[in-house]
C-alpha cells in the first residue's frame, strides 16, 4: 500500500498536479510544483510556515486561479476533470473535492446538524425540485431530508457529536469544531478530501482520535486524502505518501521513511550552517517538530 520513492505516474493517480505555479505580484508562492495523490491514500503536504501549502489547496479548490499549471482529477464516472478551469463551487459540486480551512470556517450560528445538512445542499436542492416542490411539502423532499439527516447522524456518531447535534456550531469546544468541519466536508460525498492542518490546537488525545478518523475515512470510504500538517507525529503515523514544500518549491516526495531520511528535508528543517536565510528561531521551531512531539502552535 505504501508509495514508492519515485513520483507516481500520472495515469494511476487520483489527482495529478503538473507544473503548478502561483504568483502574487512579485511573490512566487508556488514555483513549478508537480505531484500526484492516489485513491485510498493519505498524502501529506508538509513544509515550514509560508512554504505555500495552503496556496496549493486554494488552487485545487478554485479559490485561486493558478498562474501556470494543470490540475487533473480523474473522476471515476466523469473522466479527467481539469480543476484549474472550473469555478470554485463547481469543484466541490461536480468534481467532488472537499476541503477544510486552516482557521475553522463553520456556520457558527447554525446548529451542528444544520451544518451537515447544508453540506448536502445540491442533492437536497434537486430533491426539493429547486424549492418549488419542497414548498408544498411533497413526500419526495421529506424522504430526501430524512436521508440527509441519516447521513448526518452517521457522521455525528463517527465524530462523537451526536449528543451535541442541536448545539450552535460556534458554541462547540475547539476540538469538536475541527472534527465537525471534517464531517461537514465528508457530507458532500467527496472523492478527494483536502484537510488544512486539522490537528492544529488539538490535545494529544484529540489528535489520536483524529488519526483514527482519517484512517477510517481512507479505508472505509476509499477516497483520497490530502493532508497539510505540522504535527510530525500525525504525519509520520498515518500518511502513505509525503510531499515536502519549502519556499514554494517541492524538495522531497516519497513515503514517510524516504522523506524522513532525505538530506534535502533535513537541511530545510534543521537549517544547516549555510542556510542563513532561515531565521534561527524558525529553524529551532522546525527542528523540534521533526522530533515528533505534538505541540501547540499559533495558526495564522
Amino acid at each position: 500500500m505504501s508509495a514508492q520513492a519515485a513520483p507516481l505516474a500520472a495515469e494511476q493517480a487520483l489527482l495529478s498536479v503538473e507544473h503548478l505555479t502561483m504568483r502574487f505580484g512579485g511573490l512566487v508562492a508556488i514555483d513549478d510544483v508537480s505531484f500526484a495523490a492516489r485513491d485510498r491514500e493519505i498524502t501529506a503536504i508538509i513544509g515550514p510556515n509560508g512554504a505555500g501549502k495552503t496556496t496549493v489547496f486554494n488552487c485545487l479548490t478554485g479559490f485561486y486561479k493558478p498562474t501556470v499549471g494543470r490540475l487533473g482529477l480523474s473522476h471515476p464516472q466523469k473522466g479527467v476533470m481539469l480543476l484549474e478551469q472550473m469555478e470554485g463551487f463547481r469543484i466541490a459540486q461536480q468534481a467532488g473535492v472537499a476541503r477544510t480551512f486552516q482557521n475553522i470556517r463553520l456556520f457558527a450560528k447554525m446548529t451542528v446538524l444544520e451544518n451537515l445538512i447544508v453540506a448536502q445542499h445540491n442533492h437536497l436542492m434537486r430533491a426539493s425540485g429547486y424549492t418549488v416542490l419542497g414548498l408544498f411539502g411533497l413526500g419526495v423532499y421529506r424522504h430526501a431530508e430524512k436521508d440527509a439527516v441519516d447521513k448526518a447522524r452517521y457522521w455525528l456518531d463517527r465524530i462523537h457529536l451526536t449528543d451535541k447535534a442541536d448545539w450552535d456550531a460556534g458554541n462547540l469546544p475547539y476540538g469538536d469544531q475541527r472534527r465537525l468541519e471534517i464531517a461537514r466536508a465528508m457530507c458532500i460525498d467527496p472523492i478527494l478530501l483536502c484537510l488544512d492542518e486539522p490537528a492544529a490546537g488539538l490535545n494529544p488525545r484529540e489528535s489520536h482520535e483524529l488519526n483514527e478518523l482519517l484512517q477510517f475515512i481512507r479505508d472505509e470510504h476509499k477516497i483520497g486524502v490530502l493532508l497539510i500538517e505540522h504535527d510530525m507525529s500525525v504525519v509520520m503515523e498515518i500518511s502513505d505518501h509525503i510531499i515536502v514544500l519549502d519556499y514554494g518549491r517541492k524538495i522531497s516526495d516519497g513515503d514517510p521513511d524516504f522523506v524522513r531520511n532525505d538530506p534535502n528535508v533535513i537541511r530545510a528543517y534543521l537549517g544547516e550552517e549555510e542556510e542563513e536565510e532561515l531565521p534561527p528561531e524558525v529553524a529551532q521551531d522546525l527542528s523540534s517538530r521533526t522530533d515528533g512531539g505534538p505541540e501547540g502552535r499559533d495558526d495564522s
Binding site: T61, G62, F63, G88, F89, R90, I91, A92, Q93, Q94, A98, R99, F101, R105, L106, F107, A108, K109, M110, T111, L113, E114, I117, V118, A119, H121, N122, L124, M125, S128, T131, G134, L135, G137, Y141, E145, V149, A152, R153, L156, T162, D163, K164, A165, D166, W167, D168, N171, R184, A185, I188
Partner: protein, 519 residues
C-alpha cells in the same frame, strides 16, 4: 470580564472621590460650553420692521453652561463608580422635566394653547426641541446611573444579561407557537371588535402593510444577510406596475398582482446581479443608490410615469369582481347591492384590511417554510460564511439572486396593494426614509425574527400614527428608540434563532448553554 473590573473599581473607589479632578473636568466643560454658546445662542439677529436688531439671550447661555457643568459631573461620577448621587439628585430632576414635557404634550394635544404657553415659560430654553433633546440625554444618564446601581448590587455580568435576554426571546418564540394562532384569530376578528373605528382600522392597514414589507425584507437582510437599503425600490416597482397596467390597460387588481410581483422580482435580480460580489457596507451603499435611481427614473420618465404628478384614478380592488362603490354603473352590481347590504364606506376598508392581512400572512408562511428548505438553509449559511459555502458546492450567485428576487417579489406585492389602497401614487411615497423605516422594523424586531417584525411594526408605525400631534418629534423618538435598542440589545428585541431542524426533540430551553449535558 469588563463588568468584574468595573465592580472592583467601584468597590475601590467607594468613599474616595477625587473632588478636585471632578470640579476641574466639569469646569472645563462649562467653559467650552460657554465659548460655544455665547456667540451662537447668546446673540440673536432678528428681523424687525425697519431693519435688523440684536437681541441677547444670556439666560439660555447660563442654562447651557450649568447643564454642561452638572452633566459632566454626573458622567464623571458614573465613570468613577458613584452612581448613587447621580441617581438620587438627577433622577427626580429628570422625572420633573419629563412630567413637565408630558403636560406640555397633553395640553398641546388638547388644544389648550394658553396652558401650554405657560408651561413652556417655565422650561429652561425658549426652543422646545432643545428641551426635548436635553430630556432624552438626561433620561439616558439617569437610566445608566440606576442600571449601574442595580448591577453593582446584583453582580450580573453582561454575558448573563445577554443570555437572559436570549432566553426571554426563546421563550417568546416558544409560546409563539400558541401566541401565533391567537394573534391571527385576533387579527381576523379585529375589524368587528367594538372599539375599532375607522381611524384605527386605517392605521392597522398601514401597520400590516409594513409588517409584510418587514417580512419581505427579512428574507434578504435577516436570512441571507444582505444589507439592502433600497428595498423601497421594489415597493415602487410593484406599485407602478399595478398603477400603469390598471390605468392604461384596465386590468383588474387580481390579474396585475402576480405581474407586479414578477416585475419587482426581475428588478431585484437585475439589481442583484452587479452587486453580488459586494458585501456589508458596500452592498448597502449600492442598494441605497439603486433605490434612489428608481425614484429618479419615476420622477423623470414623464411620458410613462407622469413624473411628480403621479398616477391617479388607480382602480380600487374588487371583491371577486364586485366593486365597493355606492352607485354601480348601469347593469352591474356592487358589493352591497349583491349582498343586499346597506352601503357603508367602511366595507372597503375592511376588505382592504383582510386583503393585506392575507398577503402578509402568505409572506410570513412562505418565509417560515422556505427557511426549512435547502435554499433557506443556504441563505443562512451564506450569511454565516460565504467561503465555506463555496467549498461545499453551494452556488453563491444563484443563492443570493433568489434571496434578492424573492424578497423583491414580496415588496412588489405590497407595492401593488399600496397603489390600490391609495388610488394615487407619486414618487414622493418611495423615498429613502421608507427603506430606512422598513429596515428599522427588521433591525428592531431582531434579524430573522418573524414575531419581532410584528412587534416592531406596531411600535414604529402604529404608535406614531396615534400620536400624530407629536409629528415633529416622531423622527426624534424614532432615533432615540433605535439608539436605545443598539445600546441595550444590538441583536434586536426578539432575536433568537430557532434551528430549522433538530436531531433530538427539544430537551430544554438552554440546550446550547448547558455544556454539562453533553459530557
Amino acid at each position: 470580564m469588563a463588568e468584574i473590573t468595573a465592580n472592583s473599581r467601584l468597590a475601590a473607589a467607594k468613599g474616595r472621590l477625587d473632588t478636585v479632578a471632578m470640579l476641574k473636568e466639569a469646569g472645563l466643560t462649562a467653559l467650552v460650553m460657554f465659548a460655544l454658546t455665547v456667540g451662537l445662542v447668546g446673540f440673536e439677529v432678528r428681523d424687525i420692521p425697519g431693519g435688523l436688531a440684536l437681541f441677547t439671550r444670556f439666560d439660555d447661555v447660563a442654562v447651557a453652561v450649568l447643564l454642561g457643568f452638572f452633566g459632566r459631573m454626573a458622567l464623571f461620577l458614573l465613570r468613577e463608580g458613584h452612581p448613587r448621587p447621580v441617581a438620587i439628585i438627577g433622577g427626580p430632576l429628570v422625572l420633573l422635566l419629563v412630567l413637565v414635557l408630558a403636560a406640555d404634550v397633553w395640553f398641546t394635544g388638547a388644544g389648550d394653547v394658553a396652558a401650554s404657553e405657560s408651561i413652556r415659560s417655565w422650561l429652561p430654553f425658549n426652543s422646545i426641541i432643545v428641551v426635548w433633546v436635553i430630556a432624552i440625554i438626561s433620561v439616558f444618564i439617569a437610566a445608566r446611573a440606576i442600571l449601574a446601581i442595580r448591577r453593582a448590587s446584583s453582580t450580573v455580568t453582561v454575558e448573563e444579561r445577554e443570555a437572559r435576554a436570549d432566553h426571554v426571546a426563546a421563550q417568546v418564540q416558544k409560546i409563539g407557537r400558541y401566541v401565533g394562532p391567537a394573534l391571527l384569530a385576533f387579527a381576523l376578528l379585529y375589524p368587528f371588535l367594538p372599539f375599532v373605528n375607522r381611524q384605527l382600522l386605517d392605521i392597522s392597514v398601514l401597520v400590516v402593510t409594513y409588517m409584510m414589507l418587514g417580512w419581505g425584507l427579512n428574507i434578504v437582510v435577516g436570512l441571507a444577510g444582505l444589507l439592502d437599503l433600497g428595498y423601497v425600490a421594489f415597493y415602487a416597482v410593484g406599485a407602478y406596475s399595478y398603477a400603469l397596467l390598471g390605468t392604461k390597460l384596465d386590468m383588474s387588481f387580481w390579474v396585475c398582482l402576480p405581474f407586479a410581483g414578477f416585475m419587482a422580482a426581475t428588478a431585484g435580480v437585475i439589481l442583484g446581479f452587479p452587486v453580488l460580489r459586494l458585501r456589508g457596507d458596500y452592498l448597502a451603499i449600492v442598494t441605497l443608490g439603486f433605490g434612489e435611481m428608481i425614484r429618479v427614473i419615476l420622477l423623470n420618465w414623464y411620458d410613462v410615469t407622469r413624473g411628480p404628478d403621479g398616477i391617479s384614478n388607480i382602480p380600487r380592488p374588487s371583491f371577486f369582481g364586485l366593486p365597493f362603490t355606492r352607485r354601480p354603473p348601469e347593469g352591474t352590481e356592487s358589493f352591497h347591492t349583491f349582498f343586499g347590504l346597506e352601503y357603508t364606506p367602511v366595507d372597503r376598508l375592511i376588505f382592504l384590511y383582510y386583503l393585506i392581512l392575507a398577503m402578509a400572512m402568505i409572506t410570513n408562511l412562505f418565509t417560515m417554510r422556505i427557511r426549512k428548505l435547502p435554499v433557506g438553509r443556504a441563505w443562512e449559511a451564506l450569511r454565516e460564511d460565504e467561503t465555506a459555502c463555496r467549498s461545499l458546492g453551494v452556488n453563491p450567485t444563484n443563492t443570493k439572486l433568489t434571496a434578492f428576487g424573492i424578497g423583491a417579489m414580496f415588496g412588489g406585492f405590497a407595492g401593488s396593494f399600496f397603489a390600490t389602497r391609495q388610488g394615487f401614487i407619486s414618487p414622493e411615497s418611495f423615498t429613502f426614509i421608507e427603506s430606512a423605516v422598513i429596515l428599522a422594523i427588521v433591525v428592531l424586531g431582531g434579524f430573522g425574527s418573524q414575531l419581532g417584525v410584528i412587534v416592531a411594526a406596531i411600535l414604529l408605525i402604529g404608535l406614531p400614527e396615534f400620536f400624530r400631534e407629536l409629528q415633529q418629534y416622531r423622527m426624534l423618538a424614532f432615533g432615540a428608540a433605535m439608539v436605545l435598542i443598539m445600546v441595550w440589545r444590538p441583536a434586536g428585541l426578539l432575536a433568537h434563532r430557532e434551528p430549522t431542524i433538530r436531531l433530538h426533540p427539544r430537551s430544554g430551553p438552554a440546550d446550547k448553554t448547558a455544556p454539562q449535558s453533553a459530557e
